[in-house]
């Protein structure tokens, strides 16, 4: 990604730590630690409770590896699709003076509120074999989305896209518009301004949104199980495998969850080091 070729208009604060940042007030420190504990302790419990003696048998099983592979591939594809579609949408929403922007923003938030299972049903109504668009598609080609990996990706994009759009839009609105104005007055075409100025400016926002979208896609259960069904190797992602393992073998379910957690934390840490800090 090219860096902006315009000199910053304002300099950042001094890089050495100012004295007022050195002490954390109790009023902030205590809730912050509580929040951290609240989020981390259940995960610690999961790791402690997992029957590690069975780890090799459960985690090495072909079914677990198939599910993990499918999860990683579909979540990554979903994240890329969410970026390709979501960044332009965020840009549009953040444009000053867009009429109906707040209504659009509210509508984009709806998939966040919708129980994912209902999201799956909603996808049926449009893309199912007898859905609005799915029916003519099926009549013409004999192809229907449900029970294919494409359906897994569609379900994940549906639930993950709002996270990306809202993060990127927030970053765009907080960014300094004067850089774009300057580029435009210097004769850059709008698409060039977007590519060479806007994108690099909101890079961290895009990275954060993409990570949120990826994580949400990776953990997606309800819309997937409803719209894509569950079949090993085709549509059974890790969360679905975990759910079914809970029915018969709760120990295996714990191990599978820990595996999913470990892989996702590993990927996020790698990304942060190699990618995010470059901005």
């Amino acid at each position: 990604m090219p860096s902006p070729e315009i000199a910053p208009l304002a300099t950042q604060g001094p890089s050495n730590q100012p004295p007022w940042q050195s002490r954390v007030p109790l009023l902030l420190g205590v809730p912050a630690v509580l929040a951290l504990l609240f989020l981390l302790l259940p995960l610690v419990g999961l790791v402690v409770r997992a029957p590690w003696a069975e780890a090799r048998a459960v985690l090495g099983s072909p079914q677990a590896l198939l599910a993990l592979r499918l999860s990683l591939i579909t979540a990554t594809v979903s994240m890329i699709i969410a970026m390709v579609l979501g960044i332009p949408l965020a840009w549009l929403l953040a444009r000053p003076g867009l009429r109906g922007a707040s209504l659009l923003r509210a509508l984009i938030t709806v998939p966040l509120v919708l129980p994912p299972v209902v999201g799956g049903v909603a996808l049926f109504t449009v893309l199912g074999r007898s859905g609005l668009l799915g029916r003519p598609l099926y009549a013409l080609t004999g192809f229907s989305f449900p029970f294919t990996p494409y359906a897994v990706v569609l379900a994940q994009v549906f639930v993950a896209l709002p996270y990306l759009v809202l993060s990127v839009e927030g970053a765009l609105r907080a960014s300094d518009r004067r850089f774009e104005d300057a580029a435009a007055t210097l004769g850059a075409r709008p698409i060039t301004v977007f590519r060479r100025v806007t994108l690099p400016l909101v890079g961290p926002g895009i990275a954060a949104g993409a990570i949120l979208a990826w994580a949400r896609a990776l953990g997606e259960f309800g819309a997937t199980v409803t719209f894509a069904g569950n079949f090993p190797g085709t549509t059974q992602t890790m969360p679905l495998a975990v759910y079914l393992a809970l029915e018969t073998d709760p120990d295996a379910a714990l191990l599978l969850s820990v595996l999913l957690l470990a892989v996702s934390v590993g990927v996020l840490v790698l990304l942060r080091d190699r990618w995010v800090t470059r901005w």
């Binding site: 049903v121 007898s130 229907s144 079949f231």
Partner: protein, 262 residues
């Protein structure tokens, strides 16, 4: 197909879906018009398998009208209910959808002797009008047909495995659903050509699902058992409720819902 019908089909699917995730839902069969002449009539709580929901609400109302005792239900997956009972949930009667889940409670000392009170067999469910012309279990081996069956980890999937083994058919499912209601929902949405569900699921669903009988269904009969629980505070009323379920009145409600005699 007309618009309203399609809309209705999805409405049914949408309405059914949240139920799939609720591990247990409490329902109250109380009616204010229930006879209250008996001053000593105690109220009881019945934990019953989710597939019994409609029948037991009816039976509970009938029972209350006769005895004056209020019956509250907690419907859910039998395995979940068994776990709840074993962890001290306040229940008086347990109606389980399988001998294994009843055994889990009996073995823990939570219940005395249990009685078979109904049975359920598998049935092929197809969308209204049977568009793929499904005639029997053999169609489940056809790769070109969209097929849904329950995952082997859940009871209806275990039953499906039994009938396929008996028929010596290797099914080619497109999806292994997480429970029987999710499987039925795929048929109701017209997303699959056929699915294996219970007789009672087809009987209890609206017009958008039809049943196709098959001879091998007798190979997997699901037994329902009922027992009063040792922790019950009202053993007489609990026993009276069990007796009522086994009576001709109770049995006729179950038969209307598609259950077979035990």
């Amino acid at each position: 197909m007309s618009g309203p019908r399609r809309a209705a089909r999805f409405a049914v699917l949408a309405a059914a879906t949240p139920m799939l995730l609720a591990s247990a839902c409490v329902s109250d069969a109380t009616t204010s018009s229930g006879a209250s002449g008996h001053g000593s009539a105690a109220s009881i709580t019945v934990f019953a398998a989710a597939s019994l929901t409609e029948s037991f609400i009816q039976i509970g109302q009938d029972f209350q009208a006769i005895s004056g005792s209020k019956v509250t239900f907690n419907f859910g997956a039998s395995s979940t209910l068994a776990t709840q009972i074993n962890h001290g949930a306040p229940a008086d009667v347990f109606a389980a959808a399988s001998p294994a889940t009843m055994k889990a409670v009996t073995d823990a000392g939570g219940a005395g002797a249990s009685v078979d009170f109904a049975s359920n067999t598998l049935l092929i469910a197809v969308p209204e009008g049977n568009p793929a012309r499904i005639t029997g279990l053999a169609d489940f081996a056809d790769q070109d047909k969209k097929i849904a069956i329950c995952a082997p980890q859940v009871p209806c999937g275990a039953a499906a495995e039994k009938v396929f083994a008996a028929a010596q058919i290797t099914p080619e499912p497109d999806t292994l659903e997480r429970d029987v209601k999710a499987t039925l929902a795929k048929v109701a949405a017209d997303e699959v050509d056929a699915a294996l569900v219970y007789q009672t699921d087809v009987m209890g669903s609206p017009d958008d699902v039809e049943g196709v009988d098959f001879p091998e269904s007798s190979q997997a009969v699901n037994q329902y058992l009922i027992a009063t629980l040792t922790a019950s505070q009202a053993p007489e009323v609990s026993q009276a409720f069990v007796d009522y379920v086994l009576s001709p009145e109770g049995q006729s409600v179950l038969t209307r819902a598609g259950f077979a005699q035990p």
